[in-house]
């Protein structure tokens, strides 16, 4: 089985989420191979989990002031600030048969690819169940997974260079979430590749690319025109739709 690697792209938040869904649909139909993509968000954006209450998680006025996009993902999990320059996001989309039916096991597998990439750059990262990767107890990567119509999707971010103040200006951090983490402040919960290893973003991307593709036969090709058209449709009809964003 041959995997497809998409060229790195920067998109608006709604388009990024729409691309993941368009690929998932194509994979479900057997019209696309298992796919890995690395991408960024332009402008910077906040994505929230499928079941989060928007107003609880995001300072919408601050987002508007800073020109930060807001999107609701179709995956569960928490709110994430995607700095347009400060992180690399990945998606892995494949038939469930390829990734296995175990949810925890597949989280561990894909997080393992992130851990290997960070290891190559000299960081000792570890899997922190359910959906985090940490270095020295600080979160450096988070992810979210879903399965639908026999298709596995996991997307996640790897922090490269973090503007903590900006991040916590747009996110409302729930004190309850920090309670069982034995650390005092939200800022102490996170770490970035640049802070820990000095590696540049291109270096991080290369390293992620290598570890995600290791042991796989793969080819780099873009979205098909059908996928691109469907993504454009989903970006406006769903992910850019206020009703979806404000769902709960």
């Amino acid at each position: 089985m041959r995997w497809r690697l998409l060229p790195f792209g920067k998109h608006r938040a709604a388009m990024n989420m729409a691309i993941d869904e368009a690929i998932s649909e194509a994979v479900a139909r057997g019209a696309a191979p298992p796919t890995i993509r690395f991408y960024a968000w332009e402008p910077s954006a906040v994505s929230i989990g499928r079941f989060q209450r928007l107003q609880d998680e995001v300072d919408l006025e601050e987002c508007a002031r800073q020109g930060v996009d807001v999107v609701r993902r179709r995956t569960g999990g928490g709110a994430v600030f995607h700095d347009s320059e400060g992180e690399i996001t990945y998606s892995v989309i494949a038939p469930e048969a390829v990734m296995g039916s175990g949810i925890q096991a597949s989280y561990r597998e894909v997080c393992g690819w992130v851990i290997d990439a960070l290891g190559e750059l000299g960081m000792e990262a570890e899997y922190a169940p359910i959906n985090d990767v940490t270095v020295g107890g600080r979160k450096i990567s988070g992810c979210a997974q879903t399965r639908r119509d026999g298709v596995f999707l996991q997307h996640g971010t790897v922090l490269h260079d973090l503007d903590v103040r900006r991040m916590f200006a747009v996110l409302r951090v729930d004190r309850l979430k920090l309670e069982d983490k034995a650390i005092a402040t939200a800022a102490e919960r996170v770490a970035s590749v640049r802070m820990l290893s000095g590696a540049g973003k291109a270096e991080l991307l290369d390293s992620l690319h290598r570890s995600f593709c290791r042991g796989k036969e793969w080819v780099e090709t873009p979205l098909t025109s059908g996928e691109a058209a469907r993504a454009a449709e989903l970006a406006s009809a769903r992910y850019g739709d206020r009703e979806w964003t404000f769902l709960r």
Partner: protein
């Protein structure tokens, strides 16, 4: 009447429960948080399972009811168990 409780489930996720009730029975329910639920649409099934429940239903019966409903509908939750959800609901209603 409105009832609300939320909890960071130890080793799990944040779970918020908003309920409306008329004193006797629950008339509306909304769950939110950073948990995972497969399939995602089944959140509506879980929420509607709570509507109509007696406000005084004990935690063990509530947990059993939620577990049975989730199993029957093939719903998987990551980040909380039926017992966690039942416990947060009791906290909201008590």
């Amino acid at each position: 009447m409105e009832a609300f409780a939320r909890r960071k489930v130890p080793g799990g996720k944040l779970l918020s429960v908003r309920l409306q009730h008329d004193g006797e029975r629950v008339t509306g329910a909304e769950l939110s948080g950073d948990f995972f639920l497969f399939p995602e649409e089944s959140i509506a099934v879980v929420e509607s399972a709570l509507v109509g429940m007696p406000r005084s239903l004990d935690e063990a019966s509530l947990a059993a009811m939620i577990a049975e409903r989730m199993e029957r509908e093939g719903i998987t939750a990551i980040g909380f168990t039926p017992r966690d959800l039942a416990s947060v609901i009791r906290e909201a209603l008590d």
